[in-house]
Symmetry: D2
Subunit: 321 residues, 4 copies
């Protein structure tokens, strides 16, 4: 059994990790570290676990754990690792933005299995992709892989309220968000950096913009993204390219059915649909922001790092309704 | 024109008052007093007013206003009036619980027009009823008025998230409340006091319990209540009693159609439906918690105090969908 | 009083018209024609009206009415008018798509008051704009009016479920739509025709595409649209152009606050926000699809046709929450 | 492997069964019978399964299947079994109401494992309980088991829209149900029969009423029920009785935390909370109507019938948000 630990236990992504890891056949959830509430039963914070586990938050870190997931606020992972040293055999999956951009001062591998499986398999440290970055990258990277991108991408995506984290704020107040809709961080969302990095890696000469308008939807889970660019090839050409790109993907599927968000909610899947309208290629992409967009993908990366079946512990029943 | 002021301008009930009073043909909204944001445009807080008004929050109170509405937290109205003295001609409508229970040290009249219209018409100070209290009282008082109550009432009601006020809390976080449901304060809600006082006033010998389970619904506005008790008379008897009780009511109607909450959302109405099942009388009652349950009823009381048509400024278009 | 009639009384837009016209100070709602349920009380179909009106659906049409609103399915207005002839003094507002495109065989004027007020004022027949068309046109036409458009527009908009009409369908089933999101009719929505016609009218040489992806949101009312194009001028330039364009607009306002849909729900307003990001101009536009996007605008057009204050009967209290 | 079949494949309960059985380690989903769409991929109807299975609806029934689940409309199971005969070794779990009331003309065992585990284990035919019946029975039967019931129960429960089935209707239209609430079938819900039967079986002399008001909530999944009766014992007494009753229960837990519906959504659990207020005992009970209230419990019954671990295939990750 793989002894796993979680650093930072109260947030949404930690909760999802706990739910998954408690059921993972090859993992023992060794500890969930929390500075604020050590000793408190995990099921009192993540209350769907009532009756399922007696696990308590721990004030101690097991530095010999086989794998550790960092569920800390953006900026805090770097700080945490500077202050805490794990065994050299401990693998780390960081869910923050801290190590997603390649840099000389760290050796984290960007954990998007569909385009980086080999490196992930031998990595010790994984920077888990952002939720919007996952949905959008899976929509646009196959063409970059073939060096076929030319013009700008126009991307519009909507995320559920869990995307904003557990802390209370005006835009996550129920009376505000209920039956509401709004755009935010237009043309400036932080995930554009990692998307740009992946594009560059696959098609170095591509220098057009990815125009991205994120939106706040009045639902809790999920990301629905549409992305279009001009593309001269036929729909069949594109389908071939995408099907090839995702031939071995464990959770990403190109389908012909119309997409709607709830097809993937509470699963680790990404569904993609391709359409052509005149010279425009439209790609629709849907994921669960907390699973494929965070904790599910983190476990997928863990599976790859430990040589396990990529899908282990991740064959989740969708809630669908 | 009646010069009106509002004390405490940022909350839900203040917002609704502002919306109503700005459109009221006989009222000039003289000031909205706010200690926290004087000088700030009201439309920046209540943003549906963008483009409609240049009104700013005021740091000053006009103590000569013809009417003042207190939209302060429970407990703060009493304190505020101890520290601030209005002109002897200033009428006051308090939306808090502070003066709802009759007492020797104040002369506030309980502002439930359906049962207290005469006293309201000549009152200077009105204690505006609570939202649950309004929905439930209108459901159960007609029988008390006829001294026909005997056994316990069994009441279950659900309120929208605006019932909990604007401050952020765990149970008003979107991700918690969305698609959720929960009971709270069972058998102990504070509105039982005012309901009990009204019952006693109408039928002094009634001493059975009003069993009340309030619930949090995953919607923003409205209260849906069902109340039943044993009653030996026929449905026709009951209909006669209720129709008589509400013969002159401006906003309360006994209907035969099935009720659902959205029939009254964004209106000042209360709809009631009567049914008999064996010896049980079931009364269903629906209101908008912020209008008939708060600010709408406050303006209704103001209309009565000033000898205006009770419905003036309150013939609101329902949103319905 | 203006004697008004409605043809087709059961749908959403008819319901909103009834709600507005019953409260309009210069209108008497003369009849609501329904072939399917003549004699039935209107309040049994539009149940927020319980207690408010005794009006019944009529099986007869008053052909001498001063104004008639056609709330028929697309394609049926043309058919209806071929079969029914009104008095030559009867003004007609058609809410369907049937007469929105100018053509030799009809004399309907396109009823977008912000750009067509003069013609509307003297028109007898109005083609009321589509909901998406209204939201998008108000976002993009000011630049066309100045002949300043050059490149493509990229538009993404989301509509509430009332946009799909009252008939039951898979995508309006609650269990499907709740907490869901989906795109539809990408690049091919029928409202692109009327938008294109308006663009051409204002800037004849503009021939770039309006790329439009409509989406189904999990809320009932409202449209939120974002539209961007490349524009070399400064933000100040744009603000000047838009403020000028809407200087006399009764319901359309350019604001600096962040927009969110509920600012306009249950009102006849359109709010616009302008932003520049590099060479991109982003315009966000929000309306209530049933009011400014349908019945509210229809009454606004009626007011103009009859020489009334454009806002009469349309100063509606937002529901906001 | 147990060869399993499903009769009637398009509804909510069939969908949930398919989701569960496809992941069940001891089951092979042999066929899903559908008269209306034989040959159609199951994932085109239950679209969360896209990318997961190539299973197609079948026009043929395998009458040698080890277990068959009937997901037919109420009344149709009896008819179906009259027209179709299975092998004598085929076990049957019926999800309709048809066989829930014991009768001389059938040998179906009522499948509420918490109170009937032994009989279920040796049964060939199971009548799977109704959703409301499950939530309410688990709340009230422990006292009946101890013959301690005396007075009436007062029960109020709210169900999600999936409780109404997949067919479109006025009350499942999104624009109606969104942000709405309504009671229905007050004092007359059909599940009172099976609840009464269970009460009688456990405490023959109990003859007081179970007063039950069901409600339609504006969410998709789940049942939240509150039930109270007078009870003279202490809270500790009650806790002891309930803890004893559910000592061996696989999915039913008595907890001290406040309950809210999403604690159990997308799980097979029932959570119960006990409170005393004066002489009233209040029991709150929550389940997922499609899992513990239908398909999950059906598989739980199957597990028991086949001598498997009761929880096999049912350790589902909650969606929670």
């Amino acid at each position: 059994m793989i002894e796993a630990g979680i650093i930072g236990g109260a947030g949404y992504t930690a909760g999802e990790l706990i739910r998954i890891l408690l059921r993972h056949p090859e993992v023992n959830l060794n500890f969930v570290y929390s500075t604020s509430q050590p000793g408190k039963p995990v099921a009192q914070v993540h209350q769907d676990l009532l009756g399922e586990t007696d696990l308590k938050f721990s004030g101690e870190i097991n530095k010999e754990a086989a794998v550790v997931f960092l569920c800390l606020g953006h900026g805090n992972s770097k700080k945490f690792l500077a202050e805490n040293q794990f065994s050299k055999d401990t693998k780390i999956v960081d869910l923050s933005t801290d190590f997603r951009m390649a840099a000389d001062d760290h050796s984290f591998v960007y954990g998007l299995p569909e385009f980086n499986k080999e490196k992930i398999s031998t990595a010790d440290y994984i920077a888990n992709p952002g939720c919007f970055a996952t949905a959008i990258s899976l929509a646009i990277l196959p063409l970059a892989k073939k060096k076929l991108l030319k013009d700008e991408w126009h991307v519009n995506a909507v995320t559920g309220a869990t995307g904003a984290g557990t802390s209370l704020s005006g835009t996550t107040h129920f009376t505000w968000r209920d039956n509401n809709f709004s755009a935010y961080k237009s043309f400036g969302h932080q995930h554009l950096n990692e998307i740009g990095q992946s594009l560059k890696m696959l098609q170095e000469d591509y220098s057009s913009a990815v125009n991205f308008i994120p939106n706040r939807g009045n639902f809790s889970r999920g990301i629905h993204a549409t992305a279009y660019t001009s593309f001269s090839g036929s729909l069949e050409d594109v389908q071939k390219i995408y099907n090839e790109a995702y031939e071995d993907a464990a959770f990403t599927f190109v389908v012909e059915e119309d997409l709607h968000l709830k097809q993937v909610v509470n699963t680790n899947k990404c569904l993609l649909k391709l359409e052509k309208f005149g010279d425009k290629l439209l790609v629709t992409s849907i994921i669960d922001n907390l699973l494929k967009g965070a904790s599910g993908q983190a476990v997928q990366n863990m599976n790859l790092m430990f040589g396990l079946d990529e899908k282990l512990g991740l064959d989740l029943k969708a809630s669908y309704f």
